[in-house]
Amino acid sequence: MIETAVWHYDGRNANRWHPRLVGDAASFRLIGEGWESGPWAWVDLRALDIAGRDAVFGHATEPGWRIGFADGVIPADIVPLLPQRARYGGFIDRIGLGKASMAFAAVAAAALFVGLKAPGWIAPLVPQSWEDGLGDAMVGDFGGRICRTPEGDAALNALIAKVDPEGQARTIEIANIPMVNAIALPGHRIILFDGLIAEAKSPDEVAGVLGHEMGHVEHRDTMAALLRQLGLSVLLGGMNGTAGSNLNALLSLSYGREAEHSADLSAIERMKAANISPLPTADFFQRLDPLDDDRRDDKKAGKDGSVESEAVEAANWFGSHPTSRSRAELFTKAHVKGRAYTPALDSVQWQALKTMCKRDRNVKPAMGMGL
C-alpha cells in the first residue's frame, strides 16, 4: 500500500490540485477533495525536467497531465516504480556519454569514408546508356555553340585518332566559348573551349589537354563527381546555388587530386603511344600557372589589359587542377631525349582547328550562357 501527497495538473484546466496518491506496485489513484482519478499505471509515467526543485512526471498518453513531488522528496517505496529522467536521449543514456560519443565518432568516420569513396565504387556500376542519356539531357548540343567546318572537323578527327585511337569518347567537340577550359561531361563526352585552342601555341598542347580529359572519361571520373555532388547536396540540404552559378558548378566539378594525377598519367600514355612530345603540354601548364607571377607581369607589360583577363580565365582551369608546377614536371620527365616526336597535327590542320569557330557561320555566339 502506497500513499503520499503530490501536486497535480489534470491537463484539462490550469488549476493546481493537491491530491493524495494512493495505490500499489502496479498503479495508483489520485484522490482530491471531492474528486478522484485513475487508476494510473506506473509504467505510463514519464520523467520530466525538474521545475524549480520539484520532481515532475507526465503521462504517456495524457497531454498536460502532471504529478509533482514538492522539493524533489519522493518516498522510498515509490522511487523504484518511477522512470529515470532522460539526459541525452534514448540510447546514449543507456550506454553512457563517453561510450556513445566514441560509437558515434566511429560511425561518423566510417560514413565519411564511405561517402567520399562510394561515388568511385558506384560510378562504374551506372549503366553506360543512363550516363549517356544524362549527359545528353544536361548538355545537348551546347545550345548550338559547337563549331563545325569540314576542314576543322577533319583536323579534329585526325587529333582524335591519335589521342583516342580506341574511340572511348562518344564525342569530342569544340565549343565557341572564349574560356581557357576543357571539360569531360557525363556520357563520355569531351568539350574543348575555343579559348583553350586560341591560347595553345601548338597542337601538341591541345593533345595533352585532350589526353587528360580522356583520362577522366576512361576512369568515369565525371560520373563519380556527379554522384558526389548529388550526395553532398542531398546531405547538406541542397539549398544553396542560384541558377546562374550552376554552369560554373559543373565546370568546377572536382575530381580530387588522385583522379587528376591518374588522368595526367593517362594523357602521357596516350601521347607516348601517338609519338607526341609531352614538352609543349608541360610548357602550357607552366605558361598558364596563375601563380607564375613573373611571367604574367612580363605579359602584362607587353599587351596590357587583355592578358589579365586571360590569366583570370586560365585560373578557371587550374582552380580545379592544383599544383600546376608539379604537373608540368611530370610531363617534362615523360620526355625522352633524342626521340623523334611527330607533331599532333600538321600546320594546315592546326590552322583549320584554330579558325574553326571563326569560320563556322552557323555557330551561336557565347553570349547568353550566363558565363
Partner: protein, 359 residues
C-alpha cells in the same frame, strides 16, 4: 490570481547549470556530424523553459528531437529534392540555350521559397506554442499558415514597392496576422500593433544613408576633393586613403546596423506591447540601449573566450527575452482549459532550413 508586481516572467537559470548541457551538446553534435543538433536544440529548450517562471510555475518544453529531425527530413523531401532537380534542369536548359524557360523556372523557384518562408515562419511559432506548457496547458493554432504564406508574399512586396517606405506596415501587419491566429488554452491571442509608433524609428533608419551621403559630400565639397566611383584622388599615400575609405565604409555599415537595431527594438516593444491573451497584457521593455548591451556583450563574450562563448548565446538571448518580458492582468485558472488545437507532429524544419527566427 492577480499579478501587478511587474515580474510575472522571471528567468531563474544559471550559466553554470547550463554549461554541462552546452558542452555535451557540442560534443555529441560533432561526433554525429551534426545530426544530434535536433536533440541538442531540444535539450537546450527544455532547460531554458524549465528555468522560466511565469507567475507561480515554470514553463515546460515538450518538443522532442525526433520531431525536429522529421521536420528537417520533410524539408529535404518537399524542397530539397525538387530543387536538386531544378538545379540540374535549369543548368541543362541554359546550356541548351533555352534561357527563357530556365529563367521562368528560376523565378517560380524563388517565389516558392518566398511562400514557404512565410509559411515556415507561421508554423514555427505555432510549433513552439504547441510544445510550451504552463500549468499543464499548452498553446497552438488551428490555422496551418498556408494562407499566411500568400499574405507574406504580397505584404512584403507591397512594403518594398514604394521605395521600401511601407516596410514597417508590412512587418506590423504580418505580426498581427500571425499572432491573431495563435492561441493558448482556449483563448486566442489578440494582436493590435500599430505602425505609427515604429514608423519614426524606421524613417531614421531609412534616411540615415541619405543624410550620411549628404554629410560626406558636404565635407568633400568644402575640401575640394572629389571621390568618384572609379578613382580616388587625395594627397595622402594610397594605402592610407584606402584604409580611410575602408574605415568609413565599415563605419557606415556598423552605424546602419545599429540604427536597424534601434528600429527592431521599437518594433518588438510595439509588437509584444500590443499583444493580449484574454485578460493578460504583455509588455516587452528592452530599450535600444539594452539591445546594444546584448549585442556588444555577445561579441565580447565570444571574442574573450576565443569562441567558446558562442555556445552560450542562445542562453543569453533567451534570458534577455524573458528578463524584459512582462505581463499584467489576471488569469482565471478554471477557464484556462486545454487547447483543442491540433498538434503538428513535426518540428520547425522549414524554418530551420531557411534560417529565420520565430518572432
Amino acid at each position: 490570481m492577480d499579478e501587478h508586481s511587474g515580474s510575472a516572467f522571471a528567468f531563474e537559470g544559471s550559466w553554470k547549470e547550463y554549461a554541462p548541457i552546452a558542452f555535451s551538446n557540442l560534443l555529441l553534435t560533432i561526433v554525429t556530424l551534426g545530426f544530434y543538433r535536433f536533440w541538442a536544440t531540444t535539450r537546450t529548450r527544455r532547460y531554458l523553459w524549465s528555468r522560466t517562471r511565469f507567475i507561480d510555475d515554470s514553463l515546460e518544453w515538450t518538443g522532442t528531437g525526433l520531431e525536429l529531425f522529421k521536420g528537417f527530413l520533410m524539408v529535404l523531401a518537399l524542397i530539397g529534392l525538387p530543387f536538386l532537380f531544378l538545379q540540374f534542369g535549369v543548368q541543362a536548359l541554359v546550356i541548351r540555350g533555352m534561357g527563357g524557360v530556365a529563367g521562368a523556372l528560376a523565378v517560380s523557384a524563388v517565389f516558392l521559397i518566398f511562400y514557404l518562408g512565410g509559411v515556415a515562419r507561421f508554423r514555427a511559432l505555432r510549433y513552439r506554442l504547441s510544445r510550451t506548457y504552463w500549468h499543464g496547458i499548452r498553446g497552438g493554432a488551428d490555422d496551418g499558415g498556408w494562407k499566411y504564406g500568400w499574405s507574406y508574399i504580397w505584404k512584403t512586396i507591397c512594403g518594398m514597392v514604394p521605395l521600401y517606405l511601407m516596410v514597417p506596415w508590412s512587418m506590423i501587419s504580418l505580426w498581427n496576422e500571425r499572432w491573431n491566429k495563435m492561441s493558448f488554452g482556449p483563448h486566442g491571442f489578440i494582436a493590435e500593433a500599430k505602425v505609427r509608433p515604429v514608423f519614426m524609428r524606421f524613417l531614421l533608419f531609412y534616411l540615415a544613408p541619405f543624410l550620411l551621403a549628404l554629410g560626406v559630400f558636404a565635407v568633400l565639397a568644402t575640401r575640394g576633393t572629389w571621390v568618384g566611383s572609379t578613382f580616388l584622388h587625395t594627397n595622402y599615400p594610397p594605402a592610407i586613403a584606402f584604409i580611410a575609405m575602408l574605415v568609413i565604409i565599415l563605419g557606415v555599415y556598423a552605424l546602419l546596423g545599429l540604427i536597424a537595431l534601434a528600429y527592431y527594438a521599437a518594433f518588438l516593444r510595439e509588437g509584444i506591447g500590443a499583444l493580449r491573451l484574454e485578460n493578460i497584457d504583455f509588455r516587452f521593455e528592452a530599450t535600444t540601449d539594452d539591445w546594444l548591451k546584448l549585442f556588444f556583450g555577445d561579441i565580447l563574450l565570444v571574442v574573450a573566450t576565443l569562441g567558446v562563448g558562442w555556445l552560450f548565446l542562445q542562453y543569453r538571448h533567451w534570458k534577455f527575452f524573458i528578463t524584459h518580458l512582462e505581463a499584467y492582468g489576471e488569469i482565471d485558472l478554471d477557464a484556462l482549459t486545454q487547447s483543442s488545437t491540433r498538434e503538428s507532429r513535426h518540428g520547425e524544419g522549414l524554418l530551420d532550413a531557411m534560417d529565420v527566427g520565430a518572432f
